[in-house]
């Protein structure tokens, strides 16, 4: 599939439409300076299913939006602020996408999501280690970083299978095999989807540049955090079956001022929280 066709398909796609519906409505409100906290809270609260979901996630140990227990949407909006509420809604909408997939590709899709949950948890932990001001923004960014793979799986599942096979057979990374077979990578596909969804520019950049952090420009810190979280997820084998770790960009590591002697504590925490998150999001496992 060439790039033009891909973009046209992304614009027309409705398979992943769960996301824009809830999300765009709420984001529209949040981005409108006239919206008050009370209005936002009352609009969300009207949707009971969404409300229950948001509270469950906000209070889950792996999301850790706040040290206090969040008992209502009004309280959530007040304590978290608009931006964090937006990220919470985005996470919840993404979690909805986890389950509906065709037979035959369930395991692969599940693998991608489990890996994405790892990158989300890892990004949040690194955000905290590096005192990034919005850890929950990094959570959702990590969750989205490989969304391009999900799109590829939807649009061209057989090609995706070929890509994985080529990578396994030749020792290439997934991105290298994608270049070979498609002429572009999941980072590019993810960027297109992110734009189509109207995600914030730091999230779109992090999706696009998570394998090439050296090209980051405006949102270096976010891109670097996701890049490092991705590398660490692969090294711990958290989700998906991939026997190679993408190249760690040492400049990204150094720029975040992460200390080598904290790797062990960080990884132990990472592994624990990932297990909790997967158990929470895929309760059957």
């Amino acid at each position: 599939m060439d790039k033009d066709t891909l973009w046209k398909k992304i614009k027309r796609m409705n398979e992943l439409s769960t996301l824009p519906e809830v999300y765009t409505k709420i984001v529209g409100l949040i981005d409108d300076p006239k919206t008050s906290a009370a209005t936002l809270a009352s609009v969300i609260s009207r949707d009971q299913v969404l409300t229950a979901k948001l509270l469950r996630i906000a209070n889950s140990p792996f999301y850790r939006s706040s040290p206090e227990k969040i008992t209502s949407i009004t309280f959530a909006v007040a304590i978290l602020g608009f931006n964090a509420t937006k990220n919470l809604v985005l996470s919840a909408s993404l979690f909805d996408l986890f389950h509906d997939f065709e037979e035959g590709f369930k395991d692969t899709v599940r693998g991608v999501w489990e890996h994405s949950i790892a990158c989300a948890v890892g990004s949040r932990i690194i955000a905290q280690y590096t005192r990034y001001k919005q850890p929950e923004e990094m959570f959702v960014t990590g969750l989205l970083h490989d969304i391009g793979k999900i799109v590829e799986l939807q649009f061209m599942p057989e090609k995706f299978r070929e890509i994985v096979k080529l990578a396994n057979d030749t020792g290439m990374l997934i991105g290298e095999a994608e270049e070979e077979i498609l002429g572009y990578t999941h980072s590019y596909v993810g960027k297109l989807l992110g734009r189509h969804w109207g995600l914030s520019p730091q999230i779109v950049d992090s999706i696009e540049l998570h394998h090439t952090p050296e090209t980051a420009n405006e949102f270096k810190k976010q891109v670097f955090i996701v890049h490092i979280a991705d590398v660490l997820s692969h090294s711990l084998d958290l989700g998906g079956k991939d026997d190679k770790i993408p190249l760690l960009n040492i400049a990204a590591w150094e720029s975040l001022e992460l200390k080598t002697d904290t790797i062990e504590a960080l990884l132990q925490e990472f592994k624990r929280e990932w297990k909790d998150a997967v158990a929470f999001l895929f309760p059957t496992k």
Partner: protein
């Protein structure tokens, strides 16, 4: 420093000597402040005594450890790790990362074996 029987070691004590397995795998590094979990792991590895900083005791020879992982298991693990890290440049971070991952993988194998046996 001196050898202390494992049952007398408390969390917070500091290792004076690294603890190795038969095959020379480093299980815990010297200078490490032992936590609850380390003690459980040492027990799982069959360690009976460790060298603790700041204690008087007999200066024993290098600790003999009962083997939990077989040579084959270890070399299979190392081959897998080499492949995993094949795309990486050699630097301080990668060396430490590989070391930590190796330790975590060993813990996981030990954990699995304990579950199977117990």
């Amino acid at each position: 420093m001196g050898l202390v029987e494992l049952s007398l070691v408390n969390p917070g004590m500091v290792l004076a000597k690294s603890v190795y397995s038969h095959s020379g795998v480093i299980l815990l590094k010297d200078g490490r402040t032992l936590g609850e979990k380390d003690l459980l792991l040492l027990e799982a590895w069959g360690v009976t005594e460790v060298d603790i900083q700041g204690t008087d005791g007999t200066q024993g020879k290098e600790q003999v450890l009962s083997e939990i992982l077989s040579e084959e298991e270890l070399s299979a693990l190392d081959a897998k790790l080499d492949k995993k890290f094949s795309k990486q440049q050699e630097n301080e971070v990668i060396i430490e990362l590989k070391k930590v991952i190796r330790k975590i993988k060993i813990e996981e194998i030990v954990e699995r074996k304990k579950q199977k046996n117990g």
